[in-house]
Subunit: 369 residues, 2 copies
């Protein structure tokens, strides 16, 4: 039931197997890159979070995985990988600057990411985040709204107070990204109310556009902010930003595959979870966009009211696969990963940073699906 | 049971009765100023809100009082006075610039204000806003969180995209203000959990500091953004900002007086409402800070669990008054209004704009209390 990007990529994948970072070692390489970037950014992130009101600061530390819900430090805990801060650092390094130039941008995108997880969990009614109660479950809805607002406000303030000639441009990009992010989330929530088939149904292209806002915009912003703060010319910034956006779309497609076929032990979610919850995700929408018998049967199943039980969800998963939805989502992930990696070779960038980015891109999508 | 600032100010008030704008006509003058500023800012504000996702845009239009909860235009409706946008416009005019220079700042502060109302109503559990269901009651909590996020993101984006040499400074101030606002809201929510008396009780000074963040910061930012975008020197900006902050503290004190002694027909809230809900507001905290028998009896009453019924709330209101809380809150309002008005005379500013600001300041506090 599972494959991995490395097996897709080598030997039959569409990307040159000799591309930098694509090897059996890329997972370890990416882990090293992530760790290096987290260590570079950590002092500034800690200092920034330390500016918050003690109460919102406690919630922020919990959301960041630094402490438990009573404020006790949790060093081994549930910290995220820090993908966005790493992209910012690598964005600066890719344009020949020191990674340190990107730190303010890295802090800002990490704060924005944490804000969005906090508020999205409220909106989506998700009780768990990284195997722990979501902030709104641990602290209450009102406090979680406040903590999200505090993180967002801090992100803006932190970036605006960064000295240097590129601050204005960086802040402008952050503002644009915040809007894209919220717009994507609005689209996603509205999809829930649209029909599964017929007029008004969500087509895969609309889903991709939502994913580009909800997931791609901040990844693109992260890498672009690094490049901007590293003093890059507009052309390089645009290429790097676009690579980050493609990465986001690919990442979302993989997430959607995992939402149906992921191993519960790995994802922490029930098998066929997105089907049980009738989430409109890429594999399902792509399956429904076909007009074969499997697509029609799937639509009927999804249009019936209520939750799907385990057997019905398993049957629906089989129909999604039969109607080509799983293959389409894999192709979506592969295509956007290719585009992201291809972009990195389109402009003159620092080789080491490009290798790190490439390892990170591949590793992020190399989960079992 | 009621007095008004004009009666406080004339003839016995501490502000010169001949000060510009302090006359029986200042209410009409202020209404005219507010209307002029709303008309100046309106096209840009409509354009900005029009950039939102249609769904968040609908909620924003509802929150702004432009439409009802099904999106039907509501022209006579529940629009706010637009105090913050007016302060921005007058801030520019006060430093000799055209009010039009402040429009981007005016849009930003109005959007931030609307964001804060939306999220604060969720956190405070307030069902009504301007006599209509709050956004979270009309649309649901999740959508209201999203709409608030969208307004905040739009405010940042809108200001960052304003061309001109002062954008960076304006955005920096907005970021700082967002943090002060959220910090003030965090303090306010935390006050709820603190005791009424003894160690850990909230003293009036802490309350004032909360009000300066929650209410004063955005009023100060509004007027400062106008001045900044009008090209003012730092000294004038600082004076105007400080005047706006004082106005905010005074405004909060008046609001607190109305929360106990306001006419239900005017406030839309039950008589002695803040006492029934055991809100820690200035008059109550000032009363408790005394050590007479009324203060002690009040503390016992407030420390008992549960809501206060009508008779108990009326008795509590009497105790607050007896312990000097009402007089202290009036003095707080008067003192900060004096300071705000005094500031306007401390630097060289355009006379007409100062008269308008003065009329606005006085009018805002001239509600029956």
């Amino acid at each position: 039931m599972s494959s991995s990007l490395s097996s897709v990529y080598s030997p039959s994948g569409s990307v040159d197997a000799a591309a930098p970072g694509v090897s059996h070692g890329h997972g370890a390489a990416a882990d090293g890159v992530l760790k290096r970037c987290r260590e570079l950014v950590r002092p500034a992130l800690v200092e920034a979070v330390g500016r918050l009101h003690p109460w919102t600061g406690e919630m922020a530390a919990y959301a960041l995985g630094w402490s438990d819900a009573v404020g006790t430090p949790d060093p081994g805990g549930s910290e995220g990988k820090g993908v966005r801060q790493a992209l910012a650092v690598l964005g600066a390094e890719a344009v020949g600057a020191d990674g340190g130039a990107a730190v303010a941008g890295a802090v800002a995108v990490e704060l924005v990411h944490t804000f969005s997880l906090l508020h999205d969990d409220i909106m989506d009614g998700d009780h768990l985040r990284r195997q722990r109660p979501a902030v709104w479950k641990a602290y209450g809805t009102g406090p979680a709204v406040l903590a999200g607002d505090a993180l967002l406000a801090l992100a803006v303030q932190y970036l605006t107070e960064t000295p240097g000639p590129w601050t204005g441009e960086a802040v402008r990009r952050l503002g644009e990204t915040l809007n894209a992010l919220v717009h994507g989330q609005a689209e996603d929530l509205r999809f829930e109310r649209r029909p599964w088939s017929g007029t008004g149904a969500v087509d895969p292209g609309q889903y991709r556009s939502m994913a580009e806002g909800k997931t791609g915009a901040l990844l693109g912003c992260a890498i672009a902010l690094g490049a901007v703060l590293g003093g890059a010319p507009a052309g390089s910034v645009a290429v790097l930003e676009q690579a980050g956006r493609h990465l986001g779309v690919a990442f979302q497609a993989v997430d959607d595959l995992l939402g149906i076929w992921g191993e519960p032990a790995v994802t922490g979610k029930p098998v066929h979870g997105d089907l049980r919850l009738r989430k409109k995700t890429y594999p399902i929408l792509a399956a429904l966009a076909g007009d074969g018998p499997a697509a029609r049967e799937l639509a009927v199943l999804l249009e019936a009211p209520g939750l799907l039980d385990g057997a019905a969800a398993a049957h629906a998963a089989m129909l999604v696969e039969e109607a080509g939805g799983r293959a389409a989502a894999r192709e979506e992930a592969r295509r956007h990963l290719d585009a992201a990696r291809h972009g990195l070779r389109g402009v003159s960038l620092t080789r080491g940073a490009v290798e790190d980015l490439d390892a990170l891109f591949v590793c992020l999508l190399d989960r079992s699906w």
